[in-house]
């Protein structure tokens, strides 16, 4: 009897997972279409190139329909915030910056990556819960992974439906980045910027070079 009671939530969760994966993910479901008012954005910035790409995509969005925007930055990132303000000056009142520990510095070993990713994951929960983004836009920095995993979990558990959008970096001509390979399985919309990549990753959307 108790075993059955224990099994029930697990079964429900599995059913929800299957439903989410097969029918809801990546589709403009009713719950996405019927959102009212402007869409709340969360944009994850990394250092250098990733930030350039994210900001140029962001500038193309209609600020009346996509606002406010919360930028998530790695703790060690000093230049991205300044660049974001400079790039999107029409939105100053509707911008916010939050910081998260980096999940992986370049050249960090895999074991310590596991630890720092855990730490980043813990700090991602309050950020996603507080900001309740309708859309997450990420362009590749490792910081994406914990934020997107938490947002995915919240969508699965009906806490908050967030459409996770990943745009693979323009640098990736032949292969996906590690972040891309992970998020391929979690995001709703996955853009690549080279046609050959869309052949090897069928769920990927290829519209040409975006940035």
């Amino acid at each position: 009897m108790y075993a059955l009671l224990l099994m029930l939530p697990i079964l429900l969760l599995v059913a929800r997972l299957i439903y989410f994966y097969t029918l809801q993910r990546g589709r403009p479901e009713a719950d996405v279409r019927n959102m009212r008012g402007p869409r709340r954005l969360m944009v994850i910035l990394g250092s250098g190139g990733h930030t350039t790409e994210a900001l140029s995509l962001l500038r193309a969005l209609d600020t009346k329909q996509y606002r406010p925007v919360t930028f998530v930055l790695a703790e060690t990132d000093t230049t991205s915030a300044v660049r974001a303000v400079a790039a999107w000056d029409g939105m100053k009142d509707d911008m916010k910056f939050v910081k998260i520990p980096r999940s992986r510095e370049v050249h960090q070993s895999w074991l310590s990556t596991l630890l720092t990713t855990g730490k980043a994951l813990v700090s991602a929960f309050p950020i996603v819960y507080r900001e309740k983004p309708d859309i997450i836009l990420c362009c590749g920095p490792g910081t994406c992974v914990p934020i997107c995993l938490v947002a995915w979990l919240f969508s699965l558990l009906f806490v908050q439906r967030t459409v996770i959008t990943f745009v693979e970096s323009i640098c990736r001509v032949q292969t996906l980045s590690l972040t891309g390979k992970i998020l391929y399985f979690f995001c709703d919309i996955f853009f690549v910027q080279y046609e050959s990549l869309s052949h090897s990753w069928p769920k990927a959307v290829y519209l040409g070079r975006l940035v």
Binding site: P28, V32, R33, M35, R39, S47, G48, G49, H50, T51, T52, E53, S56, L57, R59, A60, L61, D62, Q65, Y66, T78, T79, V82, R83, A86, V106, I135, V163, T165, V167, S169, I170, C171, R172, V173, Q174, T175, S177, I189, F191, Q193, Y194, V205, L207, G208, R209, L210, V211
Partner: protein, 167 residues
């Protein structure tokens, strides 16, 4: 000719081999021969110290480590010599500047070379290595470059609008 300005940028990391090569007398001489009189360097986090201003081989040199925004330096330049990072490459090309990318061979196999190779194939830029820099730089025919075709973030925006039923 007293107008040619070269801006060199290595992004947020370090690339001392490139900075050293650019500051060598032999390279400064090539710059001078080509009509360049000013060299501005963004040198990043390397061990080379920035200098406020000095003149060697007839070229006025100044350098700094990092700036939040290198836009002004890019705009003032007639030629940009850059590391292979996507940020620097895209920002330079967006301003339609002549661009020579120097690939960091110690990061070979690193995916960053893919972008430079791909864009070189399109004719948007030239690329080289630190070792071949003086030779390649002296022999580049800039007239062979094609006009840069920017990406289409508007396609991304309309895809998103569609997804959310906004239009």
């Amino acid at each position: 000719m007293d107008r040619g300005t070269v801006f060199a940028t290595v992004g947020t990391t370090s690339f001392d081999e490139l900075i050293e090569a650019l500051l060598s007398d032999s390279f400064l001489q090539i710059l001078h021969d080509k009509g360049y009189r000013k060299l501005v360097l963004q040198i990043g986090r390397g061990r080379i110290e920035p200098v406020a201003q000095e003149t060697r081989c007839g070229v006025e040199i100044s350098s700094y480590r990092l700036k939040p925004n290198i836009q002004d330096d890019l705009m003032a330049a007639d030629l940009v010599i850059s590391h292979a990072g996507a940020g620097s490459v895209l920002e330079t090309l967006a301003l339609n500047k002549r661009l020579l990318v120097v690939v960091n061979e110690t990061l070979m196999g690193n995916h960053q070379t893919e972008l430079a190779e791909n864009f070189a194939g399109e004719g948007f830029l030239f690329w080289t290595t630190v070792k071949n820099l003086p030779h390649d730089f002296a022999n580049i025919d800039w007239l062979k470059l094609k006009k840069y075709q920017p990406g289409r973030p508007d396609l991304f925006a309309s895809y998103m609008d569609n997804f959310f039923g906004l239009s």
